[in-house]
């Protein structure tokens, strides 16, 4: 699949934002993170900023962004529509939560419920995003049971990285926060590796033979495409990275997304506060770049069955 910028940045940024929002919405009411208003401003601001950036960037690739409101209408059937609805609805409790925290310095009680509600809605939003992909049968690399968990865990993990970084920037070292990072990291690593293993081992359900119905004659090969140059379908759906490159990119993604943040996060536990803050920011940045590569690969490695018609 063609990894368009907008579809890469959207889930990366918004995933990160929603992950952070979930953590804030759960941890703040539980009084597991500092409740100071500046911290609230920066962390919630960052979360909602990332979410908003992601949502806006997802509109870049629309042919008619001005009609975007129409996308709220089909929540009964369309995961994309549900995602839009949920994303929008999430702003309400998230906004109230922000008002409570930043305006009144309150994160419990009613405001805490708002936080929890925002966290739950954010979770569903990420779930919907995952489901958009996981429900596309023509793309076996997406339509499987690993995709939604990966989306959720990566959102939490990248959110946790930023939470940790912001917290350390505010001078609030805490081992349990690092623990959240490490826990979500381990979860993400195992899910992502499981996903990759699944991908490498998956047997193609559809083949050129089933695509053409000519299997009874023998192996089917493309002789002539409908045209020798590209078409919309081959441009959009025909993008593939070579296996060799994919392996390399998976390594880069793993290093940036998992290994480096892991080491840096451990470093935050062991070092001085400003070095720890630096390490945490570095971990978050590394993770953010890593998740973009991961998302890029998620597209580039995914093979659409329509490519079977084009000689794939």
């Amino acid at each position: 699949m063609q990894p368009a910028y907008s579809v890469i940045f959207f889930p990366s940024a918004s995933g990160m934002g929603y992950g952070l929002l979930i953590l804030l919405g759960v941890l703040a009411p539980a009084e597991m993170i500092p409740d100071n208003r500046a911290f609230g401003l920066v962390s919630l601001g960052f979360a909602l900023g990332a979410v908003t950036f992601g949502l806006v960037s997802s509109m870049w690739h629309l042919g008619h962004p001005e009609r975007v409101l129409l996308a709220y209408t089909q929540w009964r059937s369309s995961w994309l529509s549900r995602e839009g609805v949920l994303a929008t609805v999430t702003y309400a409790p998230a906004g109230l939560f922000a008002i409570g925290w930043i305006g009144f310095g309150e994160v419990v009680g009613f405001w805490g419920v708002c936080g929890l509600a925002a966290a739950v809605l954010a979770g569903f939003t990420v779930y919907s995003t995952g489901m958009i992909y996981a429900s596309l049968r023509p793309i076996p690399a997406w339509c499987n049971r690993w995709v939604v968990p990966v989306y959720l865990s990566l959102a939490l993990f990248t959110g946790a990285l930023w939470l940790n970084a912001i917290r350390l920037l505010f001078g609030h070292p805490a081992a349990d926060a690092s623990l959240v990072v490490v826990a979500t990291l381990l979860l993400s690593v195992s899910l992502k590796w499981a996903y990759w293993r699944y991908l490498d081992g998956a047997r193609a359900g559809s083949t050129p033979e089933t695509a053409t119905g000519l299997g009874s004659i023998g192996k089917v090969r493309l002789l002539d495409p409908p045209r020798t140059q590209t078409t919309y379908v081959t441009q959009e759906m025909g993008y593939r990275v070579a296996r060799r490159h994919a392996a390399k990119l998976r390594r880069y993604a793993s290093v940036l997304l998992f290994a480096l943040p892991f080491v840096l996060t451990l470093a935050t536990v062991a070092t001085h506060s400003w070095i720890a803050a630096g390490a945490a920011v570095a971990a978050a940045l590394s993770g953010s770049v890593g998740v973009v590569i991961e998302r890029w690969l998620f597209f580039a490695e995914a093979k659409h069955v329509v490519t079977l018609y084009h000689g794939a």
Binding site: M1, H61, L62, G63, H64, P65, R67, V68, L70, A71, Y72, T73, Q74, R76, S77, S78, W79, L80, S81, G84, I132, S135, L136, R137, P138, I139, G205, S206, P208, T210, A211, T212, G213, L214, G215, S216, I217, G218, K219, V220, R221, L222, L223, D224, P225, P226, R227, Q229, T230, T231, Y232, V233, Q235, E236, M237, H304, V305, V306, Y309, H310
Partner: protein, 249 residues
């Protein structure tokens, strides 16, 4: 609308394509382009039409495949357009309701006024039947020539899709596949018409008739013939004299 019709009517209009006679001439593809570029989905925009990478919107495209190895296999020409599926995920993924399936005849259409151009439906279509018009910013696709098949400005026999009228080998058939007694359904039954990628569960309405087996064998039942037996008189002059049974001019 994006939800599939609850009570789809019995009528399922669609195409049947006979791979046994399709010669891959592209007539259906071009006549489709020609009709539809001035029809309800007009225009079928072409970008960079005279330049390095011309890319236009087409609703129908013709591939050629080879099945089987070496000289013993087959070459099969294979036109591909929207199959007007019974379970079209292209419709259910659409966030705006622009994509819809008509309950009265099963035709899958895009309402261009609602389309935001998110392209998700094209991802959801396994058959590559949707084409995005970058210039118009909306998704377009085969309309089953809805502006021909019901068009009272056309004489009755011409109310068929443009690709069907054009096809020089009559490899394309149009009709109601929901009615098991329609000529087109009977054709499908007779010739063992097939679904493409049935495993995906889209339940395409359009069917493909597989190529008939070749007839290279010696079996007279397959059109082969008994080997010629040499005429006993056939060497040299004797054969000639044998021919000279007094036939008259």
């Amino acid at each position: 609308m994006t939800s599939l019709p609850r009570d789809p009517g019995p009528k399922k209009l669609g195409l049947v394509i006979d791979l046994d006679t399709c010669v891959g001439c592209h007539a259906c593809a071009v006549s489709c382009k020609e009709w539809n570029t001035g029809g309800v989905a007009a225009p079928l925009t072409d970008l960079d039409p005279y330049g390095a990478d011309p890319v236009g919107v087409w609703f129908n495209r013709v591939h050629a495949y080879e099945a089987g190895d070496g000289m013993g296999g087959r070459t099969v020409h294979f036109p591909r357009s929207c199959l007007h599926c019974d379970e079209p995920a292209c419709v259910s993924v659409c966030p705006t309701g622009a994509s819809y399936k008509r309950e009265e005849d099963g035709i899958v259409l895009v309402d261009e006024d609602l389309c935001i151009g998110c392209k998700l439906c094209s991802w959801a279509c396994p058959y590559g039947a949707r084409e995005y018009d970058r210039d118009a910013g909306v998704m377009k696709k085969c309309t089953l020539c809805i502006d021909r098949i019901y068009n009272e400005n056309l004489p009755e026999p011409e109310r068929v899709p443009a690709c069907v009228t054009a096809c020089p080998t009559s490899a394309r058939h149009f009709g109601d596949l929901g009615d098991p007694d329609s000529p087109i359904s009977r054709l499908v039954a007779e010739r063992g018409g097939r679904d493409l990628m049935p495993e995906l569960g889209y339940r395409p309405v359009n069917k493909y008739l597989p190529p008939r087996p070749t007839r290279g064998g010696t079996d007279p039942a397959e059109g082969g013939a008994d080997p010629l037996r040499p005429e006993p008189e056939s060497d040299g002059g004797r054969f000639l004299r044998w021919l000279d049974a007094t036939l008259s001019r």
